[in-house]
Amino acid sequence: MHFDLDELQYEFRDAVRKVLSAELSPAHLRAIWEEGHDYSSTIWPHLVSLGLPELLVPGAHGGGDGAPVDVVLLLEECGYACLPEPIVETGLIAPLVLSRFGTEQQQAEWLPRLAAGEAIVATCLGEDHLVADGARADAVLVRKDDELHWVPRTAVHATPVEGIDPSRRLALCEFELGADTLLAADPEAVRAAQDAGAFGTSALLVGLAQRLTETTRDYLLERQQFGRPIGSFQALKHRLADVAVQTEAARSLVWYASYALSEGSADASRAVHMAKAAANEAAFAANYAALQLHGGIGFTWEHDLHFWLQRGKALERSFGSTAHHRTALADDILAEVWS
């Protein structure tokens, strides 16, 4: 019994961190935000050369044969860096769902492209037809009731819309669904896609909360008021301590979810519900503390803080709100207790 990532996983994490901190500085991120929908990625090739997008593609299709547990630390780094790419959709949901539920043809056509980092995937699994990177993705994974469809770009009609985080490149999408797009008519497949999305987003949120905490810590050490660093004021210290606690709690659940998904445990969905709910709340608390403790400066567009604040606010509701996941969790655990 050992609950920690292993050395190789930490080394991969360090490599991703190194690349992201070099290639995705706040100034870089700012330029991307200014470009919005027109942004053309210069980061993606770096992630491809690191082998991140291919990690979960089966070896038979040229991928890394990895499991969610191999990617959890990397996704935390992506959240930490505020990565403006649909890494969860492309690097996690798509390879997992395609390799498990896709038709032979879909697998043969798309898995090698995913492994080569040549396809960007978006998803539309909820009720709204609001899709991050919807106008740009090479394919969109779409849920319709109990069906999953794999919709190539040619069958996607996307209307870009403005959101608080321009780098999410939101679009309202309509899809031409048919027998040719059907991936699986199977609630299990839908659930696998949603679980993967919620898990991946929870890892992003933990990294994001971590970044907000560190940025705020740095500011508290630097900013002087009343003749001393404001980080010496106990009410501020305690507030950030509470965020750190919530972040570590969420991280612990997210790690477990990565393990349960990798093992295909019976409680994997339950683990994902807990991970996403806890990560939502950690990100919420981090957001609240970060802006408040930065004071006015954090409210300006010119300060970098808001990239993480706005991304976090969007991700808090992507792939399931806290209430959604807790309701599902209650249904699951209470079915045993009050049958």
């Binding site: 709204d128 819309v161 403005e162 959101g163 608080i164 008021q225 009343f226 501020l236 006015g296 409210f299």
Partner: protein, 384 residues
């Protein structure tokens, strides 16, 4: 205790109501930051002034109606009820004017007050600085007094309306060697003076409600000093007292906010006990705020020292309002992040949400509010 209006209050209420019903423009104005919008707002303000409603809380001799805080609140409740245009010269009528009336000299009053009422002069506030923040007295904008002139150099931040303002009431440090609170001077600065520059601040919510002011060798006559050189802290404290009795953040206003959010609750959640408990709590909190405010207004109107609740209003409404918006965002679900309002939204809720977060910081951060309550109301030791 009697919450009915007195006959004279009823008369006043009816007078306002009737006048507003007859005069409030039906079309929505452009924002005052546009030329067209500014002209329309000023026209409206002059109509208000013509009817004697520009500053009902000012003494009659200065063009007001001499109304006590209760009557003033009645005015603003009617104003909100009539859906009348946003006030154009809020900082003049609410802060600069009352400060002048209290601590200005006769020349200063006659020089500035009339143009406030007519909106010939629009005013903005120059208190906050980037380096000062919650520590207002830590301000560093310099004012060198030499002869009849104060030479101002420095920077102010978080001014609102400054893009179309004509005057700035500002705090500058005239004695850098004096203890922090002693060397400050309260100064009226002509915004059109050479050396004054305004730069809008783009906010994280994709809007720009505030600006920065830069002063480079701006010459201000010593005659523009209020309350004497190096005596500005006392004047500023008087100004801030007026800030606390703002008439914008009323219970009626927050009920409007809540009603807008309730319109976003989807049909299938309207029987959800979680949703309903939250709404009940918001309603309760707004009503609590109503009576917190009314207790203070009642004390002020009868010349009594207001109770402990008078220190608590800003903390209460600012955090409550954010919770209401947060609830609204959860009702919007994934669409909450959109800058384009979804059906039912008056404007993008997420933008109001972020703006509401700023209210936890401005006008004395909520941490400062809690310090004040623990020290002044509870009598706990200062510091930390």
């Amino acid at each position: 205790m009697d919450l009915r209006l007195t006959p004279s209050q009823t008369d006043f209420r009816n007078e306002i109501r009737t006048w507003l019903e007859e005069n409030v423009p039906t079309e929505k104005f452009q924002p005052p930051s546009t030329e067209e919008g500014f002209a329309r707002h000023r026209e409206w303000e002059r109509a208000l002034h013509g009817a004697g409603f520009a500053a009902v809380h000012w003494p009659v001799e200065y063009g007001g109606r001499g109304m006590d805080p209760i009557n003033t609140a009645i005015f603003y409740d009617e104003y909100l009820r009539a859906n009348a245009p946003a006030r154009l010269n809020r900082l003049a009528l609410g802060l600069a004017g009352p400060t002048l009336i209290e601590l200005g000299d006769a020349d200063q009053r006659s020089r500035w007050l009339p143009n406030m009422l007519t909106c010939d002069d629009i005013w903005c506030q120059g208190f906050s600085e980037p380096g000062a923040g919650s520590d207002l007295a830590g301000l560093r904008t310099r004012g060198e007094v030499s002869g009849d002139t104060v030479l101002v150099n420095g920077q102010k931040i978080w001014t609102s309306h400054s893009r179309f303002a004509d005057w700035i009431f500002a705090l500058v440090r005239t004695d850098p060697d004096a203890p922090k609170h002693k060397g400050i001077t309260f100064l009226m600065i002509d915004r059109h003076s050479p050396g004054v520059e305004v730069r809008p601040i783009r906010q994280m919510n994709h809007q720009a409600d505030f600006a920065e002011l830069f002063f480079t060798d701006v010459e201000v006559p010593v005659a523009n000093v209020i309350g004497g050189i190096d005596n500005g802290w006392r004047v500023a404290m008087a100004t801030l007292t007026h800030e606390r009795s703002s008439n914008l953040n009323t219970a009626a206003h927050f009920h409007q906010v809540l009603a807008e959010v309730l319109a976003l609750v989807p049909e299938n959640l309207r029987r959800d006990p979680v949703v309903r408990l939250q709404i009940a709590r918001f309603h309760e909190e707004i009503e609590a705020y109503r009576y917190i405010t009314l207790r203070t207004l009642s004390s002020l109107s009868t010349g009594k020292q207001p109770g402990p609740q008078s220190a608590m209003g800003k903390l209460w409404w600012s955090e409550m309002q954010t919770r209401i918006f947060e609830f609204g965002l959860s009702m919007l679900g994934e669409r909450a992040e959109l800058l384009e309002p979804t059906p039912g939204e008056k404007s993008a809720l997420i933008q109001s949400y972020w703006l509401s977060r700023a209210s936890h910081i401005y006008a004395g951060s909520n941490e400062i509010q809690r310090n004040i309550i623990s020290e002044r109301v509870l009598g706990l030791p200062k510091g930390n």
